[in-house]
Symmetry: C2
Subunit: 273 residues, 2 copies
């Protein structure tokens, strides 16, 4: 039996695509550059927003002494495409407990993403209150792989992320349910998530509006709050759209790690395409 994808942890010292594709280079002139690769494309042949955000945060982290992006807000200004980019960073305020910076991802002289982020640390002093309920999912091995034997042409992101679902979403089988809320498992293929991967992963699933019969939307703004360092393994996710009005929709996304801890919560607002 052969498998086409490595298990997490099996990269055996080779850099993982998430790490190589979010790497940045500082030139002697101080200019920081990066390559947006074509391995994280969503629909339409453009780079996934969460991927570009992770790349931008990776650049900003080099300038900041705190490791965890606690609060991130990204504005998506133009589509990003595979190719070179420059990354402009600014440390806005460096404090003892937190530090805030801003980063702009620029392609062909035009700003594609502008993100602001406050970094800090999470020392695991624990949860003192929560009503965040872990998605009620069968174990991943009892779930379906929605991509088993299929792909979506050009959506290379689906080769980097794995999903396990209790049943196929309505839109996949041609019957949108009308209820834009999904719970499922997700992980990076071949790499455990860390606190920099989480801002990518909250944007790495198909939008819940597909189950409203909508076909696509463009993110205007995405806020991510990282609440804990994720344990290794599959991540239990919940995506939901609560309100669609005037051509705009929200999408909330929550990620719980394999121990049931809430590790990230996000909300984005997007324009229906």
């Amino acid at each position: 039996m052969t498998t086409t994808r490595p298990d997490p942890g099996s990269h055996l010292g080779r850099p993982h695509p998430f790490d190589t594709d979010t790497a940045v280079r500082a030139g002697v002139d101080g200019l920081v550059t990066a390559s947006v690769t074509d391995r994280w494309n969503g629909l339409g042949g453009t780079a996934n927003g969460g991927y570009m955000l992770a790349l931008a945060l990776n650049a900003l982290r080099r300038e900041i002494d705190h490791p965890v992006p606690l609060a991130v807000s990204a504005f998506f200004l133009r589509p990003g495409v595979a190719g070179p980019a420059t990354v402009d960073t600014e440390v806005v305020r460096a404090g003892r407990r937190t530090a805030t910076g801003q980063v702009c991802l620029v392609q062909s002289g035009k700003e594609v993403v502008r993100a602001t982020a406050t970094f800090g640390d999470l020392d695991g002093t624990g949860v003192s209150h929560t009503t965040a309920a872990v998605p009620d999912l069968p174990p991943p091995e009892f779930c379906l792989d929605p991509l088993a034997g299929v792909g979506v042409a050009g959506v290379t992101l689906l080769e980097q992320v794995e999903y396990r679902m209790p049943q196929l979403p309505g839109f996949v089988v041609g019957s949108p349910t009308g209820t834009p809320e999904w719970e499922f498992w997700m992980r990076l293929a071949g790499r455990d998530a860390d606190t920099v991967a989480l801002p990518m992963l909250v944007d790495a699933a198909p939008p819940a509006i597909l189950d409203l019969g909508e076909t696509s939307s463009n993110t205007v703004e995405l806020t991510v709050h990282v609440r804990a360092r994720p344990a290794p393994g599959w991540l239990a996710c919940r995506a939901s759209t609560r309100h669609v009005a005037d051509g705009f929709h929200d999408e909330d996304f929550e990620i719980f790690d394999s121990t049931g801890t809430l590790v990230a919560q996000s909300r984005q607002i997007a324009i229906l395409a």
Copy 2:
């Protein structure tokens, strides 16, 4: 019988404090300045974050052709205090349907608030999907005024905003309920809310964590999404904290107008003080 507060609409042509206190002035040198007033203070004698955000957005709106702040993210870097401020604005991208800008509020040479916002318009083409449930509240006239006959020394914000609650929150009567979720009515005293007042109002109620027995926190980041233009009248609000971990807490805030339409949703992440 005398009333100490004017009813909304009764300002009779006099500018309302919200308008005068969020006004900005452009100098001949191009420098935009403002006065942070002491009429919007929270606990600790510092200016309410939502008020400073509204002031900053007011400055940014002057540079942008679209009227409604659809998506706003503000990072609170230092406490703001009554006194002069400069307001630096930047138009990041001006498009046909939306435009994005950034604004920094600076006091004594130090950045206090940095906000990024995408503006657009809401033409009232309606709600095509929602699971956002209007708070189940008795009419305002059957609710309690939690500030009737009382005040909180120095918290001048409470003189600008009116609240009506079905019962007094636990913390007010010395018995935090342990459930950080409140539903209540709110309005600016003497002025109907518009889409620029909403980003202030989402931050204008006491934090829900008070009902966990916590005493205060400092906002790191606040995201506001304006979803509709509010109708005149009282606003039905829901504030809730879902997750407290590692000394950080979220707070979600929703505002529905007097017709039951969701007009704003926000989330902030804050550090327990």
